[in-house]
Amino acid sequence: MLEALGLDCIRGQRRLFRDLSFDLAPGQMLWVLGPNGSGKTTLLRLLCGLLRPDGGGVRWKGKDVRRFSETFHEDLLYLGHAPAGKEDLSSRENLCFGLAQMGIGVASHEVDSALEEFGLADLETIPARALSQGQRRRAALTRLAFGADRPLWILDEPFTALDTQAVELVRVHLARQQTRGGCVVFTSHQDIEFPGAVKQVQLVQ
């Protein structure tokens, strides 16, 4: 479904990777590994079409992700390392506005159950600036609960700053995405066990 064809990337003076190719079939996960500064986030942004590769291309269902961006975006759920929420808004507001931006309309009870699942039910009215790092991260990840219709998840460091319970929760969501036949691309420095097969891409400094 997702194909990277000979990706080249130069940022500033440095070549991050060259001729990087892989493809993901439905239900496959891709774990992007590498030390800090090796270009993991850059690779994810390339896959989303936010960056233009210096060579090669990214295809989703056989179509270039930058040329056919609007149909591609309907299939994509992307969580960057920034929280994509506003400090002055509550987790609930951030979630609803964030989902609306992605073109997902939700009913109030669905939001309630998602917030409860991610342990934010009591905190939903508190502005994000008053939340801890881990709680903010949970608030951002709550979107995963609404990602069932998005066959491609691209997640930048989804496990950072989470406690074991939340890591487990994210793992469950990733496993569900896999059994639905969706693709997941993610980065993580933590050692996490997955039940299904996980492809790996190792980037080097």
Binding site: L51, Y78, F97, I104, E110
Partner: protein, 227 residues
Amino acid sequence: MTAIGLAPVFAAVVRRDLTLALRRRSDVLTTLFFFVIVVSLFPLGVGTQSNILRSIAPGVVWVAALLASMLALVRLFASDFDDGTLEQLTLSPQPLVLLVAGKVLAHWLVSGLPLVLIAPLLGLQFDLPAAALRTMTVALLLGTPCLSLIGAVGAALTLGVRGAGGLLALLVLPLYIPVLIFGAGAVSAALDGMSVNGQLSVLGALLLIALALAPWAAATALRIALE
């Protein structure tokens, strides 16, 4: 959970920015107070001769409006850029151009519309007659959205640049000149008892051009800023 179309997405973008403005009222009030104070300083400084006040009023009000609208511009995309919201906007299934237009609309509602509403009151300090006050309000109603739209292009181009505020002013203020000339010109013509249709039509035309081109230019600049 359902897929939603363009209108609700657009509405959500506008509503989010309005909610944020409501949470941070000080930002909105700063723009408004700046406008009120700058305009009010002139009658105090120039003296009370009403013929002089009347003749400088159009220029003073318009220049103050230009500067006030500059104040809020720096923040238009900067916080979205920093917290990742802009990436999400770019990755929305709906066209970025229209979502940018939504952001500009929200920006105008909180930083342009209040100026339009308070301007007639400030015009009284300059002893402007009712006809001129009316023209000034209409001209500002057509002109301030132009300022927000043109400003959005500048704000998008200077995104992530150090010292963005100063650069933004240098970039955007020259582009405001046509709006200033025809906006102030309309009020002056009304003061002289002449027809203002010409100036207002040009302002209307400028608004339409800005509406057609500015969101598109801003969206392109934002995509480049994210690379």
